[in-house]
């Protein structure tokens, strides 16, 4: 099903809550703004956030003869989305599954979705280095996977888990496209003083340490978290976050070519 997908990018992070899903959605939206056809696959089965972040909650996946039809964000069908969130009846109900069942679901997402022609397929993952990640990695062996983008926050506690994720990529042979440092600084809306809540520079020094590309820094911006389906680069084109996303997308496109 992925034969007509030109580039596959995994978004990974050992740590949870560093902004994998937010970064995935914004990268997808930024790529879409540049005129690419993009797919976004959410394989976080226990905590799917993509449907909420794109305001697609309540949408249904349709079954066609040859597979599942993903949900499109607009009529141009430039951004296709697939998530377990679309398959749940109630947004509060938990998916209490052990590994083998999660593995089967992820496999199905990779083989049974009718993505059609895509320039980029972005895969958003849950935190960790376990079932979902191993399954994706195994199933992408037959397809050309361009590599993984690793998201981290700057503090040492997060960096520690992210180092494990880099080891995972090395052990499994996935190239690392680069590291993004998210939530880098917070600009106080009252006095404009920038506070590094979770310190700063951790992502860049990790990139040096692990000898991988550093893609860029994204600041904490409460506006970005509330965009819900709109691209940061079009809504707040002058914000530091928008500049960050533009630069990062630029580098990713370059590295995928």
């Amino acid at each position: 099903m992925l034969e007509n997908v030109k580039h596959v990018i995994l978004i990974l992070s050992g740590k949870g809550g560093v902004g994998k899903s937010t970064v995935s959605t914004q990268l997808a939206l930024t790529l879409k703004e540049r005129g690419f056809k993009v797919g976004l696959l959410d394989i976080d089965l226990c905590g799917p956030s993509i449907p909420y972040l794109l305001q697609l909650e309540g949408k249904d996946v349709h079954q066609a003869d040859s597979g599942w039809v993903p949900v499109y964000t607009d009529e141009d069908q430039k951004l296709a989305v697939m998530s377990i969130g679309f398959l749940l009846n109630d947004r509060n109900s938990a998916v209490v599954w052990r590994g083998p069942k999660k593995t089967a679901m992820v496999k199905q997402f990779l083989t049974d979705v009718l993505w059609g022609d895509l320039d980029y397929l972005i895969i958003d993952t849950p935190p960790g280095t376990s079932d979902e990640h191993i399954t994706v990695m195994e199933n992408l062996k037959t397809v050309k996977c361009d590599g993984a983008v690793i998201v981290t926050t700057p503090q040492a506690v997060a960096i520690e888990d992210v180092r494990k994720e880099i080891t995972f990529c090395k052990k499994t042979g996935i190239p690392v496209l680069g590291i993004i440092e998210n939530m880098s600084g917070f600009v106080c809306p009252h006095c404009s003083e920038c506070t590094n809540i979770f310190s700063t520079g951790g992502g860049e020094s990790l990139a040096q340490l692990a000898n991988v590309t550093f893609l860029g820094v994204l600041p904490i911006d409460t506006k970005v978290g509330q965009l819900l389906g709109k691209a940061c680069v079009t809504e707040y084109p002058d914000s530091p976050a928008a500049k960050g996303y533009s630069e990062i997308v630029e580098k990713i496109i370059e590295r995928c070519q």
Binding site: G17, R91, A94, V96, K102, T103, H133, Q155, A158, K164
Partner: protein, 318 residues
């Protein structure tokens, strides 16, 4: 195949069920590719459950710290609670079990990252952080911080079983179990293995924004499905106090009313909130004790209130 799947979808029409006594022996089983596995597999509940009950007989209160969402501060909150409990009374023994196999943070947050676990006749000895506070984590078993634990579910379950059945916890007042995000293997295992030993309850940690609450609601649903009592919800990173102008801002805005509103909707107790403090993040990175280093901070004051409620909740029935 995990034990919770009673009758596989692909099973023959009259499959007696993989857990039944007739599994692998009944007439419809002949010809089934899994016949041998079913016939030779162990029947009934995991024997480890009884073992764990024995092992944890001197542990008075077992508390799970859960959150559907990652990075909301489960490990930080676990560390803070354990330290506050241990500081409160010198003869109160507290231990932390870090069940996050793929991303263990407790050794760092509690400041014992370079320690090692020792093996004795009575099992693994947990690493002691303080006189009355000890910790067990897979982090101690890894040779380098770069080491990744790339394990599927069953192996993670085995590790958690070992942590519960083979660690010499001794006599404890509180055992806090820090978990990874999600509602999967680690959580099911912890809940199942502790089912006979008795879980006092779960503390759920969240941040105020809707995207986190979305996953946390699933965790509450999980607790209800596995019959674990919810002691309460703690909202972390509620407000940010600018160190420059001391005015407050909401970094993760509670667009849907935050944890308090969610607790009301889902009918679970609300324990309180902790502010976002850059100094706290730094102290956690360095593994230092915030309670002795910043006793007058907003975080510690809020924490003391929560711990007092928590102790009341746990010890009321004693």
């Amino acid at each position: 195949m995990s034990a919770d799947i009673k009758r596989p979808d692909s099973a023959p029409e009259h499959c007696p069920g993989v857990g039944s006594d007739a599994a692998g022996k009944a007439a419809p089983c002949s010809g089934c590719p899994n016949q041998q596995i079913c016939a030779s597999g162990p029947k009934g509940p995991d024997p480890a459950i009884g073992l764990i009950k024995e092992r944890l007989i001197d542990v008075k209160h077992k508390i799970l710290v859960l959150s559907g969402k990652g990075g909301v501060g489960k490990s930080t909150v676990t560390a803070l609670l354990s330290r506050a409990l241990a500081h409160g009374k010198n003869d109160r023994n507290v231990a932390v079990l870090d069940a996050d196999i793929c991303g263990p943070s407790q050794p760092k947050v509690l400041g014992v990252a370079d320690e090692q676990v020792h093996q004795s006749g009575s099992g693994w000895s947990p690493v002691s952080v303080d006189d009355n506070l000890s910790l067990m984590s897979i982090g101690f078993l890894l040779s380098s911080p770069d080491d990744a634990v790339i394990w599927r579910g069953p192996k993670k379950n085995g590790m958690i079983r070992q942590f519960l059945s083979e660690v010499d916890w001794g006599s404890l007042d509180y055992l806090l179990v820090d978990t990874p995000p999600g509602t999967s293997d680690e959580h099911l295992s912890a809940a199942t293995y502790l089912s006979q030993a008795g879980v006092t309850g779960a503390i759920i940690v969240t941040t105020p924004q809707e995207v986190a609450l979305l996953d946390v609601r699933k965790e509450i649903d999980f607790c209800r499905k596995v019959n674990v009592r919810i002691l309460g919800v703690i909202e972390n990173m509620s407000i940010f106090v600018c160190p420059c102008c001391e005015r407050m801002s909401e970094i993760f805005p509670a667009t849907t009313g935050g944890a308090r509103q969610m607790c009301k909707e889902m009918d679970v107790p609300y324990l309180g909130n902790l502010p976002l403090d850059p100094k706290l993040a730094r102290l956690c990175d360095e593994g230092r004790d915030i309670i002795t280093e910043m006793p007058s901070s907003l975080v510690v004051q809020a924490l003391n209130g929560i711990v007092k409620d928590l102790i009341d909740l746990c010890e009321k029935k004693d």
